[in-house]
Protein backbone atom coordinates (compact mmCIF):
# COMPACT_ATOMS: atom_id res chain seq x y z
CA UNK A 1 0.00 0.00 0.00
CA UNK A 2 1.38 3.43 -0.75
CA UNK A 3 2.57 5.55 2.16
CA UNK A 4 -0.16 8.20 1.82
CA UNK A 5 -2.88 5.60 2.10
CA UNK A 6 -1.04 4.00 5.01
CA UNK A 7 -0.85 7.35 6.78
CA UNK A 8 -4.50 7.99 6.05
CA UNK A 9 -5.69 4.62 7.33
CA UNK A 10 -3.45 4.65 10.40
CA UNK A 11 -4.82 8.00 11.52
CA UNK A 12 -8.33 7.01 10.47
CA UNK A 13 -8.11 4.14 12.92
CA UNK A 14 -6.78 6.44 15.63
CA UNK A 15 -9.53 8.99 14.95
CA UNK A 16 -12.25 6.35 14.97
CA UNK A 17 -11.34 4.56 18.16
CA UNK A 18 -9.99 7.14 20.58
CA UNK A 19 -12.39 8.75 22.96
CA UNK A 20 -11.58 11.90 24.86
CA UNK A 21 -9.31 13.71 22.44
CA UNK A 22 -5.63 14.65 22.52
CA UNK A 23 -4.08 13.21 25.64
CA UNK A 24 -5.78 9.86 25.31
CA UNK A 25 -4.60 9.71 21.73
CA UNK A 26 -0.90 10.32 22.30
CA UNK A 27 0.04 6.88 23.59
CA UNK A 28 -1.99 5.18 20.86
CA UNK A 29 -0.44 7.33 18.15
CA UNK A 30 3.01 6.58 19.56
CA UNK A 31 2.30 2.87 19.47
CA UNK A 32 1.15 2.99 15.84
CA UNK A 33 3.85 5.32 14.52
CA UNK A 34 6.89 4.23 16.52
CA UNK A 35 6.31 0.59 17.40
CA UNK A 36 4.05 -0.81 14.72
CA UNK A 37 5.13 1.04 11.58
CA UNK A 38 8.58 2.13 12.70
CA UNK A 39 8.11 5.41 10.82
CA UNK A 40 9.88 7.41 13.52
CA UNK A 41 12.28 6.85 16.41
CA UNK A 42 10.80 7.52 19.84
CA UNK A 43 13.09 10.55 20.24
CA UNK A 44 11.88 12.03 16.95
CA UNK A 45 8.28 11.41 17.93
CA UNK A 46 8.68 13.22 21.25
CA UNK A 47 10.35 16.07 19.38
CA UNK A 48 7.36 16.38 17.04
CA UNK A 49 4.97 16.07 19.97
CA UNK A 50 6.59 19.17 21.50
CA UNK A 51 5.89 21.05 18.27
CA UNK A 52 2.27 19.86 18.18
CA UNK A 53 1.78 21.09 21.74
CA UNK A 54 3.37 24.49 21.13
CA UNK A 55 1.00 25.24 18.26
CA UNK A 56 -2.66 26.14 18.93
CA UNK A 57 -5.47 23.97 17.68
CA UNK A 58 -6.66 20.45 18.22
CA UNK A 59 -3.81 18.34 19.60
CA UNK A 60 -4.72 15.11 17.80
CA UNK A 61 -4.92 16.94 14.47
CA UNK A 62 -1.67 18.77 15.16
CA UNK A 63 0.13 15.51 15.87
CA UNK A 64 -1.14 13.98 12.63
CA UNK A 65 -0.02 17.08 10.73
CA UNK A 66 3.54 17.08 12.15
CA UNK A 67 3.96 13.34 11.69
CA UNK A 68 2.57 13.41 8.14
CA UNK A 69 4.70 16.45 7.32
CA UNK A 70 7.84 14.85 8.68
CA UNK A 71 7.29 11.67 6.67
CA UNK A 72 5.92 12.97 3.39
CA UNK A 73 5.67 16.76 3.40
CA UNK A 74 2.47 18.70 2.73
CA UNK A 75 0.66 15.81 1.06
CA UNK A 76 1.55 13.48 3.91
CA UNK A 77 0.21 15.90 6.50
CA UNK A 78 -2.98 16.32 4.48
CA UNK A 79 -3.53 12.54 4.29
CA UNK A 80 -2.90 12.10 8.02
CA UNK A 81 -5.05 15.07 9.06
CA UNK A 82 -8.01 13.99 6.92
CA UNK A 83 -7.72 10.51 8.40
CA UNK A 84 -7.91 11.92 11.93
CA UNK A 85 -10.83 14.21 11.22
CA UNK A 86 -13.01 12.03 8.99
CA UNK A 87 -14.43 9.57 11.58
CA UNK A 88 -15.58 12.26 14.04
CA UNK A 89 -16.90 14.36 11.18
CA UNK A 90 -19.05 11.53 9.81
CA UNK A 91 -20.26 10.34 13.21
CA UNK A 92 -21.21 13.82 14.41
CA UNK A 93 -22.82 14.62 11.08
CA UNK A 94 -25.07 11.57 11.43
CA UNK A 95 -25.91 12.63 15.00
CA UNK A 96 -26.58 16.24 13.93
CA UNK A 97 -29.02 15.04 11.27
CA UNK A 98 -31.02 12.78 13.60
CA UNK A 99 -30.49 14.28 17.05
CA UNK A 100 -31.24 17.95 16.45
CA UNK A 101 -31.55 20.42 19.34
CA UNK A 102 -35.33 20.37 18.74
CA UNK A 103 -35.47 16.59 19.12
CA UNK A 104 -33.49 16.77 22.35
CA UNK A 105 -35.88 19.42 23.64
CA UNK A 106 -39.20 17.96 22.51
CA UNK A 107 -38.85 14.20 22.79
CA UNK A 108 -39.86 13.46 26.41
CA UNK A 109 -37.51 10.47 26.85
CA UNK A 110 -34.47 12.11 25.26
CA UNK A 111 -35.08 15.40 27.04
CA UNK A 112 -35.29 13.66 30.43
CA UNK A 113 -32.00 11.84 29.73
CA UNK A 114 -30.22 15.04 28.76
CA UNK A 115 -31.60 16.83 31.80
CA UNK A 116 -29.68 14.30 33.87
CA UNK A 117 -26.58 14.45 31.68
CA UNK A 118 -26.03 18.24 31.72
CA UNK A 119 -24.95 18.63 35.38
CA UNK A 120 -22.60 15.66 34.90
CA UNK A 121 -21.01 17.38 31.90
CA UNK A 122 -20.39 20.44 34.07
CA UNK A 123 -18.64 18.15 36.56
CA UNK A 124 -16.50 16.77 33.74
CA UNK A 125 -15.33 20.32 33.02
CA UNK A 126 -14.68 21.19 36.68
CA UNK A 127 -12.37 18.18 37.09
CA UNK A 128 -9.76 19.34 34.51
CA UNK A 129 -9.68 22.79 36.19
CA UNK A 130 -8.00 21.15 39.16
CA UNK A 131 -5.81 18.81 37.10
CA UNK A 132 -4.60 21.61 34.84
CA UNK A 133 -3.99 23.90 37.84
CA UNK A 134 -1.77 21.24 39.31
CA UNK A 135 0.18 20.60 36.12
CA UNK A 136 0.53 24.36 35.55
CA UNK A 137 2.16 24.59 38.98
CA UNK A 138 -0.47 27.00 40.34
CA UNK A 139 0.24 27.90 43.99
CA UNK A 140 -1.54 30.12 46.52
CA UNK A 141 0.61 32.97 45.25
CA UNK A 142 -0.44 32.55 41.61
CA UNK A 143 -4.00 31.31 41.98
CA UNK A 144 -5.28 34.85 41.40
CA UNK A 145 -4.32 34.62 37.71
CA UNK A 146 -6.76 31.87 36.65
CA UNK A 147 -9.28 33.32 39.13
CA UNK A 148 -9.22 36.79 37.54
CA UNK A 149 -9.25 35.31 34.02
CA UNK A 150 -12.28 33.12 34.81
CA UNK A 151 -14.23 35.90 36.54
CA UNK A 152 -13.62 38.43 33.76
CA UNK A 153 -14.65 35.95 31.04
CA UNK A 154 -17.69 35.03 33.14
CA UNK A 155 -18.59 38.71 33.60
CA UNK A 156 -19.67 39.01 29.97
CA UNK A 157 -18.41 42.60 29.85
CA UNK A 158 -17.51 43.92 26.40
CA UNK A 159 -13.95 43.24 25.17
CA UNK A 160 -12.46 42.02 28.47
CA UNK A 161 -14.70 38.96 28.56
CA UNK A 162 -13.12 37.67 25.35
CA UNK A 163 -10.84 34.71 26.16
CA UNK A 164 -8.60 35.53 23.18
CA UNK A 165 -7.42 38.68 25.00
CA UNK A 166 -6.10 36.60 27.91
CA UNK A 167 -4.36 34.11 25.64
CA UNK A 168 -2.52 36.99 23.97
CA UNK A 169 -1.66 38.65 27.31
CA UNK A 170 -0.46 35.34 28.79
CA UNK A 171 1.74 34.61 25.79
CA UNK A 172 3.23 38.12 25.77
CA UNK A 173 3.93 38.13 29.53
CA UNK A 174 5.50 34.67 29.26
CA UNK A 175 7.74 35.94 26.47
CA UNK A 176 8.70 39.16 28.30
CA UNK A 177 9.59 37.26 31.49
CA UNK A 178 11.77 34.94 29.47
CA UNK A 179 13.52 37.85 27.72
CA UNK A 180 13.98 39.66 31.05
CA UNK A 181 15.50 36.59 32.66
CA UNK A 182 17.95 36.27 29.77
CA UNK A 183 18.99 39.90 30.04
CA UNK A 184 19.46 39.69 33.83
CA UNK A 185 21.58 36.57 33.36
Amino acid sequence: MNIYLQLFFTFLKIGAFTFGGGWAMISIIEKEIVEKHGWLEREEFLDLLAVAQAVPGILAVNISVVVGDKLKGARGSMAAAIGTILPSFLIILAIAIFLTPDTIKNNPVISSIFKGIRPAVVALIIAPVLTSAKSAGITWRTVWIPFVVAVLIYSGLPVISNPIIFIIIGGVIGYVFHAYRQVSN
Binding site: I58, V61, I85, G116, L124, A136, G170, I173
Partner: protein, 199 residues
Protein backbone atom coordinates in the same frame (compact mmCIF):
# COMPACT_ATOMS: atom_id res chain seq x y z
CA UNK B 1 -24.31 33.64 2.75
CA UNK B 2 -23.18 35.93 5.58
CA UNK B 3 -23.77 33.22 8.13
CA UNK B 4 -21.15 31.01 6.49
CA UNK B 5 -18.55 33.78 6.50
CA UNK B 6 -19.35 34.53 10.16
CA UNK B 7 -19.02 30.86 11.06
CA UNK B 8 -15.76 30.44 9.15
CA UNK B 9 -14.31 33.57 10.78
CA UNK B 10 -15.36 32.34 14.24
CA UNK B 11 -13.82 28.91 13.76
CA UNK B 12 -10.63 30.33 12.28
CA UNK B 13 -10.25 32.31 15.51
CA UNK B 14 -11.05 29.25 17.62
CA UNK B 15 -8.39 27.28 15.74
CA UNK B 16 -5.82 30.05 15.93
CA UNK B 17 -6.16 30.72 19.68
CA UNK B 18 -7.09 27.23 20.83
CA UNK B 19 -4.25 26.59 23.25
CA UNK B 20 -4.45 24.09 26.06
CA UNK B 21 -6.68 21.37 24.67
CA UNK B 22 -10.38 20.77 24.19
CA UNK B 23 -11.67 21.99 27.55
CA UNK B 24 -9.86 25.32 27.22
CA UNK B 25 -11.24 25.61 23.70
CA UNK B 26 -14.78 25.40 25.13
CA UNK B 27 -14.46 28.92 26.47
CA UNK B 28 -13.53 30.19 22.99
CA UNK B 29 -16.42 28.32 21.37
CA UNK B 30 -18.76 29.65 24.03
CA UNK B 31 -17.57 33.20 23.37
CA UNK B 32 -17.74 32.97 19.59
CA UNK B 33 -20.85 30.86 19.10
CA UNK B 34 -23.14 30.94 22.14
CA UNK B 35 -22.71 34.64 22.91
CA UNK B 36 -23.09 35.43 19.25
CA UNK B 37 -26.34 33.48 19.34
CA UNK B 38 -27.75 35.94 21.84
CA UNK B 39 -26.76 38.91 19.71
CA UNK B 40 -28.30 40.24 16.56
CA UNK B 41 -27.80 37.41 14.08
CA UNK B 42 -29.67 34.85 16.14
CA UNK B 43 -27.80 31.59 15.64
CA UNK B 44 -29.91 29.85 18.22
CA UNK B 45 -27.23 27.88 20.06
CA UNK B 46 -28.28 28.05 23.72
CA UNK B 47 -26.09 27.16 26.72
CA UNK B 48 -28.20 24.03 26.88
CA UNK B 49 -27.47 22.97 23.31
CA UNK B 50 -23.81 23.81 23.88
CA UNK B 51 -23.69 21.53 26.92
CA UNK B 52 -25.45 18.79 24.94
CA UNK B 53 -22.79 19.07 22.26
CA UNK B 54 -20.08 18.62 24.89
CA UNK B 55 -21.94 15.54 26.17
CA UNK B 56 -22.21 14.08 22.67
CA UNK B 57 -18.51 14.83 22.08
CA UNK B 58 -17.55 12.95 25.21
CA UNK B 59 -19.48 9.89 24.12
CA UNK B 60 -18.23 9.74 20.54
CA UNK B 61 -14.65 9.29 19.38
CA UNK B 62 -12.64 12.29 18.27
CA UNK B 63 -11.67 15.66 19.69
CA UNK B 64 -14.23 18.15 21.07
CA UNK B 65 -12.91 20.85 18.72
CA UNK B 66 -13.85 18.84 15.62
CA UNK B 67 -17.07 17.45 17.05
CA UNK B 68 -18.42 20.85 18.06
CA UNK B 69 -17.45 22.41 14.72
CA UNK B 70 -19.24 19.67 12.81
CA UNK B 71 -22.40 19.81 14.95
CA UNK B 72 -22.65 23.58 15.29
CA UNK B 73 -21.81 24.09 11.62
CA UNK B 74 -24.70 21.81 10.70
CA UNK B 75 -27.27 23.28 13.09
CA UNK B 76 -26.76 27.02 12.60
CA UNK B 77 -27.57 27.29 8.86
CA UNK B 78 -30.83 25.45 9.64
CA UNK B 79 -31.55 27.88 12.48
CA UNK B 80 -31.18 30.93 10.26
CA UNK B 81 -33.53 29.54 7.63
CA UNK B 82 -31.51 27.40 5.24
CA UNK B 83 -33.76 24.38 5.03
CA UNK B 84 -31.84 22.09 2.70
CA UNK B 85 -29.66 19.34 4.14
CA UNK B 86 -26.99 20.25 1.63
CA UNK B 87 -26.68 23.81 2.92
CA UNK B 88 -26.38 22.51 6.49
CA UNK B 89 -23.76 20.03 5.34
CA UNK B 90 -21.87 22.91 3.76
CA UNK B 91 -21.82 24.76 7.11
CA UNK B 92 -20.63 21.64 8.85
CA UNK B 93 -17.79 21.16 6.38
CA UNK B 94 -16.85 24.86 6.45
CA UNK B 95 -16.53 24.97 10.26
CA UNK B 96 -14.60 21.71 10.46
CA UNK B 97 -12.11 22.87 7.84
CA UNK B 98 -11.86 26.38 9.32
CA UNK B 99 -10.89 25.11 12.77
CA UNK B 100 -7.95 23.06 11.43
CA UNK B 101 -6.61 25.49 8.81
CA UNK B 102 -4.73 27.85 11.19
CA UNK B 103 -2.90 25.08 13.08
CA UNK B 104 -2.26 23.26 9.79
CA UNK B 105 -0.51 26.31 8.34
CA UNK B 106 1.26 27.10 11.61
CA UNK B 107 2.60 23.59 11.98
CA UNK B 108 3.73 23.47 8.36
CA UNK B 109 5.52 26.82 8.48
CA UNK B 110 6.79 27.07 12.06
CA UNK B 111 7.76 23.46 12.71
CA UNK B 112 11.42 24.11 11.92
CA UNK B 113 11.51 27.29 13.97
CA UNK B 114 9.89 25.66 17.00
CA UNK B 115 12.20 22.65 16.86
CA UNK B 116 15.22 24.92 16.66
CA UNK B 117 14.05 27.05 19.61
CA UNK B 118 12.39 24.33 21.60
CA UNK B 119 15.14 24.26 24.18
CA UNK B 120 16.14 27.94 23.96
CA UNK B 121 13.36 29.03 26.27
CA UNK B 122 11.34 31.27 23.95
CA UNK B 123 8.71 28.61 23.37
CA UNK B 124 8.90 27.48 27.00
CA UNK B 125 8.57 31.09 28.18
CA UNK B 126 5.44 31.67 26.13
CA UNK B 127 3.96 28.36 27.22
CA UNK B 128 4.59 29.11 30.89
CA UNK B 129 2.69 32.38 30.46
CA UNK B 130 -0.19 30.57 28.78
CA UNK B 131 -0.58 27.80 31.34
CA UNK B 132 -2.25 29.76 34.17
CA UNK B 133 -4.51 31.43 31.59
CA UNK B 134 -5.60 28.03 30.29
CA UNK B 135 -6.66 27.06 33.84
CA UNK B 136 -8.77 30.22 33.93
CA UNK B 137 -10.32 29.45 30.54
CA UNK B 138 -11.45 26.00 31.63
CA UNK B 139 -12.80 27.43 34.92
CA UNK B 140 -14.74 30.08 33.01
CA UNK B 141 -16.33 27.41 30.80
CA UNK B 142 -17.40 25.49 33.91
CA UNK B 143 -18.75 28.66 35.58
CA UNK B 144 -20.70 29.73 32.50
CA UNK B 145 -22.38 26.34 32.25
CA UNK B 146 -23.55 26.33 35.88
CA UNK B 147 -26.79 28.07 35.06
CA UNK B 148 -30.53 27.61 34.93
CA UNK B 149 -30.28 26.17 31.43
CA UNK B 150 -28.36 23.19 32.77
CA UNK B 151 -29.40 22.97 36.42
CA UNK B 152 -33.06 23.88 36.07
CA UNK B 153 -34.89 26.78 37.69
CA UNK B 154 -37.21 25.02 40.13
CA UNK B 155 -35.94 24.00 43.57
CA UNK B 156 -36.35 20.27 43.05
CA UNK B 157 -34.56 20.42 39.68
CA UNK B 158 -31.71 22.42 41.16
CA UNK B 159 -31.28 19.97 44.05
CA UNK B 160 -31.29 16.94 41.73
CA UNK B 161 -28.88 18.61 39.30
CA UNK B 162 -26.49 19.73 42.04
CA UNK B 163 -26.44 16.23 43.49
CA UNK B 164 -25.75 14.75 40.05
CA UNK B 165 -22.96 17.27 39.49
CA UNK B 166 -21.29 16.62 42.86
CA UNK B 167 -21.51 12.83 42.57
CA UNK B 168 -20.21 12.92 38.97
CA UNK B 169 -17.34 15.14 40.05
CA UNK B 170 -16.36 12.83 42.90
CA UNK B 171 -16.61 9.84 40.56
CA UNK B 172 -14.25 11.23 37.90
CA UNK B 173 -11.90 12.82 40.41
CA UNK B 174 -11.50 10.06 42.98
CA UNK B 175 -12.40 6.80 41.26
CA UNK B 176 -11.30 5.28 37.99
CA UNK B 177 -14.79 5.44 36.51
CA UNK B 178 -14.64 6.38 32.83
CA UNK B 179 -16.25 9.75 31.92
CA UNK B 180 -18.52 7.96 29.44
CA UNK B 181 -19.83 5.75 32.25
CA UNK B 182 -20.51 8.89 34.31
CA UNK B 183 -22.51 10.43 31.46
CA UNK B 184 -24.46 7.23 30.84
CA UNK B 185 -25.18 6.93 34.57
CA UNK B 186 -26.35 10.53 34.83
CA UNK B 187 -28.54 10.03 31.76
CA UNK B 188 -30.09 6.98 33.36
CA UNK B 189 -30.78 8.89 36.58
CA UNK B 190 -32.32 11.68 34.48
CA UNK B 191 -34.59 9.18 32.76
CA UNK B 192 -35.74 7.70 36.08
CA UNK B 193 -36.22 11.01 37.86
CA UNK B 194 -37.68 13.16 35.10
CA UNK B 195 -39.47 10.62 32.91
CA UNK B 196 -40.58 7.74 35.14
CA UNK B 197 -41.26 9.80 38.30
CA UNK B 198 -42.03 12.88 36.26
CA UNK B 199 -40.44 15.27 38.78
Amino acid sequence: MMVYLHLIWSYLKIGLFGFGGGYAMLSLIENEIVKHSNGLPAWGISEQTFTDIVAISQMTPGPIGINSATYIGYVIPGNVGYDSVLLCLLGSLACTIAVVVPPFLLVSYTSHFIRRHKDSGVVKGIMSGLRPVVVGLIASAALLLMNGDNFGTETLDIITSTLLCVVSFLAVKFTKVHPIAVIVGAGFVGFIVYYIFNV
